[in-house]
Symmetry: C2
Subunit: 141 residues, 2 copies
DNA sequence: AATAAACTTGACCATTTTAGTCGGGTATGT
DNA sequence: ACATACCCGACTAAAATGGTCAAGTTTATT
């Protein structure tokens, strides 16, 4: 099981954005420089964040992105969902009634992955951008 | 984030093993047939389970594998660790003091992944093979 | 002693995913 | 007009994944 960089970058970028968008929109270039994430890659990520109405864009000079909601309304679930970062149990639970492994029954560990998924999603549901912002005022080395 | 088949197969195979090893060792061939997992792939997985002392092997005809511990002593953590299925935060947390992203500080979401990892591992620590066995007596469609 | 069942080991490989890059746009403030 | 910034789709190198294949060794049974 692994977390991909895409999800990590999305969260990093949004925390960065939340910190600086109070006055003006924040350009991806700035985020790129501050967070050390490739600009081109950020564009892909923000395209998805925009489609999912997590951020708004302002084009042209002095343009950039701003949050589309309050930081406490943006849960990690939303962010991960937007960039296709999700908990996958691979080939299990795809077909609802067919069972796994091409057999007629659920595989013997099926319920386990369900539980795990719920467990992880609960964590994501309960974390908002705001939590991360607060958590980070106390930046320890 | 995704769970790989290797981890899933390892758990499935061990549940299968736990059910049948009361009398005789269980051959991978049997597990392969019952669970629909490639025999060659199972061999790779069991090689790792054996190195981690989760199973013992008996060679020769009528040989096979048996559990090396009681089902309630085998936690999911142990299984996943054995087959290299673990929560990875990718490039974060590799260097202990250097920080992430090649900078001198921790990335702003560093603590988050720590928390998540703890959250998930807690789930794995608290689940044993025995739990899965019990859970499965009530096999619902 | 021969045989067959089963574990053991290591190399190999096709496919998919990941983490980008690249090249062209279009909109807009100055 | 021009620079800054978003927009969009195609492309790609490298890694991970989910295996396969071949050539063993061990041991119970006949």
């Amino acid at each position: 099981m692994k977390l991909t960089s895409k999800g990590r970058y999305a969260v990093m970028a949004l925390v960065d954005l939340a910190r600086f968008d109070n006055i003006n929109p924040v350009s991806l270039r700035d985020i790129s420089l501050r967070q050390g994430i490739s600009l081109d890659y950020l564009e892909q990520i923000f395209s998805k964040l925009k489609k999912n109405e997590i951020v708004k864009s302002i084009r042209g000079t002095q343009g950039g992105y701003v949050l589309n909601k309050n930081p406490n309304e943006i849960k990690l679930t939303n962010i991960f969902h937007a960039v296709d970062e999700k908990v996958k149990t691979v080939q299990c639970k795809k077909e609802s009634k067919k069972g796994c492994n091409g057999k007629a029954t659920k595989c013997i560990t099926h319920n386990l992955w369900d539980e795990l998924e719920i467990h992880i999603n609960t964590f994501f549901e309960n974390k908002s951008l705001k939590d991360l912002l607060n958590n980070n005022k106390e930046t320890r080395v």
